[in-house]
């Protein structure tokens, strides 16, 4: 359960921020990204854990990159085949799963020293912990930024100012800087919780 809150990859370990911020303007790409990263982390951990006794320390980074790149190519081809529009929206960020620090971080920190099954579960849990933050960001940004969720309208059209209502979308939510500020706020709230006092710096 650690990686979901206390050891969350995004807000505690500060890993894999790039994609967490870039794909969360809407909920759907955020969810696809979560699924892709979870699959890749789990299997990268599993494979590296199986290989951990046979790979010399000096070349392990290259081996890791090859294993991860192989998995990401599979995911990319599957996304292109089944959810082409989302795959277009994610553009380069699918490829960037390769350099997502969660992968290398978990492989280095966990999979190289543990048995395959625990490594697989660790990868899964970290993927889901990463995804939780993505979904939170996607939820807030899509709801406030475009008044819809998963592409479905939540705020009724009649509320908008141009239709004689009182409501306007917060355009700032759709822009990159707001994602950063939202993550900052999530970290703030998370560390303010009583059980997480020990995460506070200095």
């Amino acid at each position: 359960m650690g990686p979901l809150s206390k050891g969350n990859p995004v807000i505690v370990q500060i890993l894999g921020i790039c994609s967490a911020l870039a794909v969360t303007a809407q909920l759907k790409p955020a969810f696809v990204m979560m699924a892709s990263v979870t699959v890749v982390t789990a299997f990268a951990n599993l494979i590296m854990s199986l290989l951990r006794k046979g790979v010399p320390g000096r070349i392990r980074i290259i081996v890791q990159l090859v294993v991860i790149a192989f998995l990401v190519i599979l995911v990319d081809q599957v996304l292109k085949a089944y959810v082409y529009d989302v795959s277009k929206q994610l553009s380069v960020y699918v490829g960037l799963i390769i350099t997502n620090c969660i992968l290398m971080g978990r492989v280095e920190a966990f999979a190289l020293g543990h048995k395959p099954w625990p490594s697989f579960v660790d990868g899964l849990a970290n993927g889901v912990g990463y995804g939780l933050i993505l979904l939170m960001l996607g939820f807030v940004r899509e709801l406030l930024g475009s008044g819809s969720l998963w592409g479905f309208r939540v705020i009724p059209e009649a509320w908008y100012i141009q239709n004689g209502g009182f409501y306007a979308n917060n355009g700032l939510m759709m822009l990159p800087p707001m994602a950063l500020i939202l993550v900052g706020i999530i970290i703030w709230v998370h560390r303010s919780a009583k059980s997480n006092k020990d995460l506070i710096e200095k």
Binding site: I14, L65, I98, P176, P177, V183, G184, R191, E201
Partner: protein, 209 residues
């Protein structure tokens, strides 16, 4: 002229950190002092420029659809058997980046030990810096038609990243003396400040080049 536009755009308007969030992991982790931030930033400029050029060559002559036409006309676009190796681009790009950083590390260690002490520790970090990989992927997606433009893009993006991390480090050095709510200290406030800097950088958006 167009190359100059691409160069300036990639420093200010399409800044790697503020517009695309590339390389955030090392950006947050290494921006604690200006000196180390500067070292990492310079290493990123160098590696990014060279890997974008190398990957452009790989993409142009091996990977993109019909790129192998120079070997056999049948394999070109419109030929009898068009060869499309673009699905291999992720693995080729990351291999080029990893191999290049490894080589640079060895060369620098051998011939310039002083420089190695300054930059060497950052080089392995750079292999997994998303900014480097991101630059190559953007280069591929935007399909720059000459190596000069690709170079301008790589150099500009590197400088943009260096600028961002040095500014952030300078601000964080000052932050040491300010009273920040305890749970916000460290990464929290760094994110929020980066966001505010991003808002400032968005003022460049209106400029059309």
């Amino acid at each position: 002229m167009e190359t100059l536009n691409i160069f300036i755009r990639s420093i200010f308007i399409d800044n790697m950190v503020f517009a695309y969030f590339f390389g955030m992991c090392s950006y947050i982790a290494v921006s604690k002092s200006v000196k180390t931030a500067n070292g990492l930033g310079l290493a990123v400029i160098f590696v990014m420029t060279v890997t974008v050029i190398l990957n452009w060559l790989f993409n142009e002559y091996i990977l993109k659809p019909g790129a192998l036409g120079w070997l056999n006309p049948d394999w070109a676009v419109g030929g009898a058997h068009t060869v499309d190796l673009s699905f291999l681009s992720f693995i080729v790009f990351i291999a080029v980046i990893a191999a290049f950083t490894q080589i640079v590390e060895m060369v620098v260690e051998k011939f310039a030990p002083a420089l190695y002490n300054q930059l060497g520790i950052f080089l392995p970090l750079i292999a997994v810096n998303c900014a480097i990989m991101g630059a190559s992927l953007f280069m591929q997606e935007r399909a720059y038609d000459s190596v000069v433009k690709a170079t301008g893009f790589g150099l500009g993006s590197g400088i943009g990243w260096w600028l961002a991390i040095v500014m952030m480090a300078a601000i964080r050095e000052r932050l040491e003396y300010s009273e920040i709510p305890a749970p916000l200290r460290g990464p929290g406030i760094t994110f929020i400040i980066t966001g505010l800097m991003g808002v400032a950088f968005m003022t460049f958006l209106g400029i059309s080049l």
